[in-house]
């Protein structure tokens, strides 16, 4: 039993990372109407920026927050310079552009950082806690705590601030938002900036857990984040968080008790995406708005 609880806690930790990335996907899906396939590579790029800063001797938390700022600006620039240009095109065009962005960022990272394996500093102590027989890693707790703080901040921003309300409105009904003076275009750029920040946090949290990372380390993680977002409903922020944690726990539990599963994690993630899209495309919390006409 203690063993199961232990696996659940570390499942929640990896789930927190999936949740952050899934939230980023949902954020962009709601405002731009497309799935951002470059989300993982944006996170990967941010992780490398953080590594670079640390490598140059910047103290950890300063490097962390500096990376978030740089990522935000980068996300805004990607929207302004790339996505905005094709924003009037069909969804398929925009999706194709995000795939192009994926390839570009991956190639650029391989070029800048030589495609070598890097190790990112772990901000959390390596010790463990024994809570009634359940051994919990401090790192897992740290990841869960940071994820919670980020989700809470995002919630406050979207639910409690004027700009957050404007951003939600711009995603729901851009035409009507414009008539109320909401700068819709700027709100979309803001969404991309925030998605980039979420990705950065996810990348920086997950890289140390893997020992080392290179420019491809985000690809499998993005698959699980997709599974999480689809499970929760691609347009539901609550769904992204619930889906992320659910996927994290499920992968961990199954991996512990079924020996051969380690190799099947990725196919399992893809299978989950397929099954949900077939049986319940709106996911657990997806939009089915009640509407009277």
């Amino acid at each position: 039993m203690a063993d199961v609880l232990q696996q659940i806690v570390s499942g929640i930790a990896s789930g927190g990372v999936y949740a952050l990335l899934a939230l980023a996907l949902v954020l962009i899906y709601r405002s731009t109407g497309v799935v951002n396939f470059a989300q993982g590579e944006m996170a990967m790029f941010s992780t490398f920026i953080c590594w670079e800063l640390l490598d140059r001797g910047v103290p950890y938390w300063i490097a962390f927050f500096l990376t978030l700022v740089i990522s935000f600006v980068g996300g805004v620039l990607i929207e302004r310079l790339v996505i905005h240009v094709v924003s009037r095109a069909q969804a398929l065009t925009v999706v194709t552009v995000t795939i192009g962005l994926l390839i570009f960022l991956n190639g650029a990272a391989a070029w800048i950082w030589k495609g070598e394996q890097r190790t990112l500093e772990n901000p959390f102590p390596t010790r463990t806690f024994d809570v009634g027989g359940v051994v919990i890693a401090a790192q897992d707790l740290g990841i869960i705590a940071v994820s919670l703080v980020i989700v809470a901040l995002l919630w406050v921003f979207f639910q409690k601030t004027r700009v957050g309300l404007g951003a939600r409105a711009a995603a729901l009904n851009p035409e009507s938002s414009r008539l109320h003076g909401v700068p819709v275009s700027r709100m979309l750029a803001l969404g991309w900036g925030l998605a980039a920040v979420l990705g950065a946090v996810a990348g920086i949290l997950v890289a140390p857990t893997q020992g080392s990372f290179d420019q491809n380390f985000m690809l499998p993680i993005l698959i699980f984040a997709f599974a999480a977002a689809v499970l929760g409903g691609l347009d539901s922020p609550v769904g992204a968080v619930v889906g992320g944690v659910a996927v994290g726990i499920a992968l961990n539990l199954i991996g512990t008790y079924i020996d051969f599963f380690a190799d099947l994690r990725l196919p399992a993630g893809l299978l989950l995406i397929l099954v949900i899209l077939l049986l319940r495309p709106s996911g657990l919390f997806g939009r089915r708005i009640a509407r009277r006409v």
């Binding site: 004027r162 309300l165 409105a169 009904n173 009507s176 008539l179 708005i289 009640a290 009277r292």
Partner: protein
Amino acid sequence: MPVPLLELEDVEARYGAIRALHGISLQVGEREVVSVLGANGAGKTTTLRAISGTVRRSGGLRFDGSRLPRSPEAVARLGIAHVPEGRGTFDELTVDENLELGAFTRRDRAGYERDVKEVIEHFPWIAERRDQQAGLLSGGEQQMLALARAFMARPRLILVDEPSLGLAPRIVKQIFDVLRSWIDEHGMSALVVEQNANVALEHSERAYVLEVGRVAVEGTAHELRGNETVRKSYLGY
């Protein structure tokens, strides 16, 4: 009429290659309710969209003496509220959040709270349903909410597109009455597009009749009621 609040001079507008307005000129004075009448496709909705900047337009558009900007956001910030065709309800947001969006261009928190109270005096049902999802409101309620959202911006000019569409006469009367009392209390002007000419003339000082993107007839509500063609084509008696 003294210096008009809104003045259109020879305004053209097009959707892609199709020209929808062929040179419209009209004026709206301070505290005036002006209606725009005409059949389907005459360019009524496009006239409002040209003013709020949601369609490509050219020609002279002046508001309070200066040129109207091109972007809808900038037009809204000048104090022009547009209640659009289809009402523009934010379905998934609550009634409260809809009202807050109406006041997006404002920063004064106290004034906002006061205006919510005032809007509720006009539409008492809102008080009970502030936390409800706006998409669940009835058509009439959504029309009133759209008007309330516009009021929340404290606009100097309100553009209203077909307020009577699909609504019972009693509700239509209520909507026009509220519009009138808000104008009297706050010194606003209104440009109302209506297919229902009887209702429109009853509630406005002056009117323009559009035919295929041009002004065909204009005058006071009284004059238009007396106009033979208008009576036959639009009033039906």
